[in-house]
Amino acid sequence: MTITAEHLSYVYHPGSPFAAKALDDVSLTIEEGEFFGIIGHTGSGKSTFVKHLNGLIRLPSSQKHYKKPKAKKGMPSPVVPSLKVGEYDLSSRKTDFYGLRKKVGMVFQYPEAQLFAETVFEDVAFGLKNFERDMKEKETEAAVKAAIEVVGLDYAAVKDVSPFDLSGGQKRRVAIAGVIVTKPEILVLDEPAAGLDPLGKKEIMALLHRLHGDWCKTVVIVSHDMDEIAENCTRAAVFSEGKIVYALPPKELFLKADELFALGLDIPLTAKLRLALLKRGIETDCDFTVDSFVDAVLKKRGGAS
């Protein structure tokens, strides 16, 4: 499923003294099969954008009581925002948002806060029972088992345990299992590795790579960690003040170090090292993953490892 957003805008608390523009004429296409990154500092509109993708925030035109803006004479006709996710047209009121949410899985920041059931099994099965009302018990069990195993937990050991008795990293995996159990085609994650230790971060990213492809065709992650973006993403969009500034593969994006610094963002370690080498007159050509950077440096040295 391809995601196509055109001219999306969103204002929180419109018409009140608290009004805040979160999205301002955002257009973006995310192709099927991408591992897409979204970067931007707090309040740049990235979470608001992501919430549009499964209809948690609705376009004005998909709400009741929507009135089409009238074209005034002499004025340019008003831009109509539109958002399509695969065959779902999110700007229409008739869209089956329920069906959409089954196709677009969403893992929020600190997803362990959504755990509620008595056992891990029940919690993971929650989404499945909501979406597949007449699934047989055996099928449910098989799906839950597969989800728990793919996130790297031992099914037999955890299924009857209370999710609140698990460690922080385990809780997060259970929460992720609870989202992917329905095999969504698009998986959106808002800072999936936030607050984890370095090992936990690595494991979560490894998990996302396991999921990407067979389990979920498209993965979209929101992240502050540029190394994570450089290492994993096929493309990344940079949000600033509700607008998209760049949407480029990391290879091109992280060449714009100065522009990113100006936006209050960082660049990955590999890009910093590349700049440091450049200052000393050594040019390296890499796509900013650690492997390719090492290769490039070794090539400059004139020898293989």
Partner: protein
């Protein structure tokens, strides 16, 4: 949940916003007293004049103030209808049917009551429009201080109040987040019979409760880490002090109450 703004503070700068919260609370109490002391429309007119002044110097849109009436519309309707039909006056009724009768006095009296309620609701809402919940709390704490003489834990009560207030937006955000997360997992909060809907709230309530407890614990630890010891010699960051504004307001209140009392004595009742 988006529309939940606690209290209804309207953030602009104005004369009324700057008045000491303690005085505003006293003002409201005095105003209510004046309304109930007023026995005729002259007294209410004086009250209305003070209300108009308050609204004019607060820069709160008049529509917002009128909206406060929505909440008590039913009450107003109920009391006025009762009074119109059941007030027994002298002379001939305009209309009579079994136990219902409409007298001239009934009409006047119910109009009088409606005016009272409207004034009351509008001025009370002015207090919350122009005072932040935190300032309101400070004001209440300060006004309750005399109760310390009878060992009433004024400080603890006001701390609980202000913490409860500051938790409301945090928990409302949290509710929003958890609700979104469960909706993304296909939870449905809008359809089904009441029992089903209440059951659907469980996946929100349990995580919310857990996070509320966690936050309370964290807050307690953070306060202990900073040597919080109850009200032993605590100073205030923002000390409430009276200014020239407060003097004006005080004179206004005093004037209103005396005026209403005089009108009551010299102009007689409404009927």
């Amino acid at each position: 949940m988006k529309e939940v703004t606690f209290g209804q503070y309207y953030p602009v700068e104005s004369f009324v916003h700057k008045v000491d919260p303690r005085l505003k609370i006293v003002f409201l109490i005095a105003y209510i007293t004046a309304i109930f002391l007023a026995k005729n429309f002259y007294g209410l007119a004086a009250c209305a004049f003070v209300l108009v002044l308050t609204v004019a110097f607060s820069r709160v849109p008049i529509l917002k103030v009128l909206r406060a009436l929505r909440g008590i519309a039913v009450l107003i309707l109920f009391t006025s209808v009762l009074n119109v039909f059941f007030y027994r006056g002298e002379g001939d009724p305009y209309f009579e049917w079994t136990v219902f009768a409409v007298y001239r006095e009934g009409l006047i009296f119910s109009a009088f009551l409606v005016c009272r309620l409207v004034l009351l609701a509008m001025l009370s809402s002015m207090l919350t429009y122009t005072t932040t919940p935190v300032a309101l709390c400070d004001g209440i704490e300060s006004l309750l201080t005399p109760l310390k003489w009878i060992r009433f834990p004024v400080h603890a009560v006001s701390l609980i109040m202000s913490q409860a207030l500051s938790m409301i937006p945090i928990l409302s955000d949290e509710t929003d987040r958890i609700k979104s997360a469960q909706m993304a997992r296909g939870a449905d909060f809008e359809s089904g019979n009441p029992v089903k809907r209440v059951k659907a709230m469980i996946p929100i309530l349990i995580p919310l409760l857990i996070s509320a407890f966690r936050r309370a614990e964290e807050l307690g630890e953070a306060m202990e880490a900073r040597c919080y010891m109850g009200d032993k010699k605590r100073t205030k960051y923002k000390k409430l002090t009276f200014t020239w504004r407060d003097l004006i307001v005080f004179l206004l209140i005093a004037g209103l109450v005396t005026g209403v009392v005089l009108l009551r004595v010299y102009c007689g009742g409404v009927i």
